[in-house]
Amino acid sequence: MAAPGAAKSLFLTLLLSLLALLALLTLLAAGVRPAEATPLYMARSGRTCDNCHSLPNSWFNPPETTLRKCTLGCASCHVDPNGGGLRNVSGRYYGASTLPMFAATGRPYKDVRRELAWLFGGDATRGEPSSEPSSEPSSEPSSEPTSGQGAEVATTPMDPRPAGSPEPNDGPVWGRPIGRGSSDMAWLDGRYGDQNADPFVLFGADVRLGVWQQGPLVFPMQADLDLAVHPVEHFTLATATGLRGRASSRGSDRDDGAPWVDLRDLWVMAHELPALAYVRAGRFLPAFGTRISDHTAYTRRPFGLSQEFPSSRVLGAEVGFNANYPYANVTAFVPTASDAANPFEVAEGWGGVASAGWCDLGWSLGGSAMVRRRALDNDGDTFDLSAQWSFNPWFYTDALPVTYLGEVAFGTLQRRWSGVEMAQLAAYHRLVWTALAGVQFEGRYDFWDPDREVVDDDVHRPGVATELTIVPGLTVRADVRLLVPARGQAGADLFVQLHGWL
């Protein structure tokens, strides 16, 4: 099970984990808030194979489509099949090779001229292909060999790295599962450079520091630790834990006494099945809509899907698949209590979600429906519908490196005191220009009408942002937001985040 050098890998992993834990423990200020996934990367990654793995060819290409893992859905980069949190080897490779401005892992053949190192006279061919391309690579992913003269497509899995390379074992990982390599759907070593593709234990962390100019407030927004254990092929247990925030300081009169640490996710999953099919059970966020990184988005928080609230999690079972390119999943669950004393305290009621869609190379389109039946004092009954889409013109032309995400969500819910049914509507639009590797500029627009029967309660929130991923694991983001209510004066603010991720 344990590969040679596993002791060293384990030591480094434990050391990194201890450092991350120490960093978390030093964050003693009041508010920490979790953040979510970035479907922007999903929409953007399909334009070139080496966003998510190394050379696509001179490799074993399964003939059956259902055995391919080239999905543009969330499961291509995240352990959670609906995105967010812990990143699998493909996501780690993306973070190391595509996202950063500096110190990026060499990419085999695409976009090297978009890196700052090249602009300042760096080596435009510093990527590490196993052999020189025999012709100018096509910008469109292809199953045809593109590397090496007369390169042959192998009939069995093989490591494409140079002969004599040590066994790939990079990453916040340890060990190998029993039966490693026995599943056609297991992530394959060598396909992601030196990253351990199929670890026994996988760690992750997200830490964000926020600065809100209006306060001014400087506070830890997020402090999450993630863990996945993959003891045998086709089975994973995953957990996500985070510090929990509040408005007041701990020990003040307004301290509600809630525990510091919140167990957010805990689930087991049978996976690595054809078409990336899976079944999981446990505590998780229901798969409705788009999991975006802004938990305050009107398509998330008002629909009870914001990560900061324990009641957003459910206890249930989910089955789905993330093929190339359709996806679908169905979830049945019981709600958790909004004032739960422990993460597994269920509340009266039940719920279900169904989502389906298509994630193509340059666009995606999907829909979700969710029903929840709960006691009125636990947020009541809801019925929600959402349409989500993305469009990446960059896939069609390098002259337009922009990506667009959008969502509209409509839902009925009960008013908290009267129980009378009401309706809300929200929309989310995000246009991102990737100027250079690791440098992106955004325009964004959110809309929310919280009660369709009440006059002048709707709000528009346009904004612009700059996001810099400086090195792997470090991102800085600045947002300027304008809130324009239907009634009253508009307000503007500046919000800066420092995000460390593993």
């Binding site: 508010g31 809100w212 100019q213 209006q214 306060g215 001014p216 407030l217 506070f219 408005a247 007041s248 300081s249 003040s252 009169d253 307004r254 305050t296 928080r301 340059g362 666009w363 889409w389 469009f391 013109p393 069609y396 667009y404 959008g406 509209v408 008013r415 005191w417 009267s418 009378v420 009401m422 509507l425 929309a427 639009h429 809309f447 009408d449 919280p450 009660d451 369709r452 029967e453 009440v454 006059v455 002048d456 309660d457 709707d458 709000v459 929130r461 904004g463 947002d479 937001r481 304008l482 809130l483 209510p485 239907a486 009634r487 009253g488 004066q489 307000g491 503007a492 603010d493 919000f495």
Partner: protein
């Protein structure tokens, strides 16, 4: 179908969707919450059960002695007396001006505003 034609079709579909959905993203409703649903807020709101959570939700992250930036603007909303003393400011900035909380933060909902207003109209009891 050529890539160019496929791309143009996709642009048209997405663009039409955005325009169409953008037209939907307009406010509706013609009445105040109290007229739509008089039961939407507690009939007899009390400070501890109803008002204090509202102040914590929107105000005390900045307007409190233990607030991280320090007591913003020199006043707080931590106690019943604080809220009664600062009621004029709440009326101006929240009910009329809709400027607080500031910036891009969530404004106070119609339900919570109605709860506060009823509490004050009924004598602002500190129970």
């Amino acid at each position: 179908m050529s890539r160019r034609r496929c791309a143009l079709r996709q642009i048209a579909v997405v663009g039409a969707s955005v325009v169409g959905l953008g037209l939907v993203a307009c406010g509706s409703g013609a009445d105040a919450l109290e007229d739509v649903d008089p039961e939407a807020a507690p009939q007899l709101p009390g400070y501890t059960e109803h008002v204090a959570p509202i102040m914590d939700r929107y105000c005390t992250a900045c307007h409190a002695e233990d607030a991280q930036p320090g007591m913003t603007a020199g006043f707080g909303f931590e106690t019943c007396d604080d809220v009664r003393r600062g009621w004029g400011g709440i009326v101006i900035t929240v009910f009329r001006g809709n400027t607080m909380p500031p910036g891009g933060a969530y404004r106070m909902s119609s339900e919570d505003q109605l709860t506060l207003q009823r509490w004050f109209d009924q004598g602002a009891r500190c129970d």
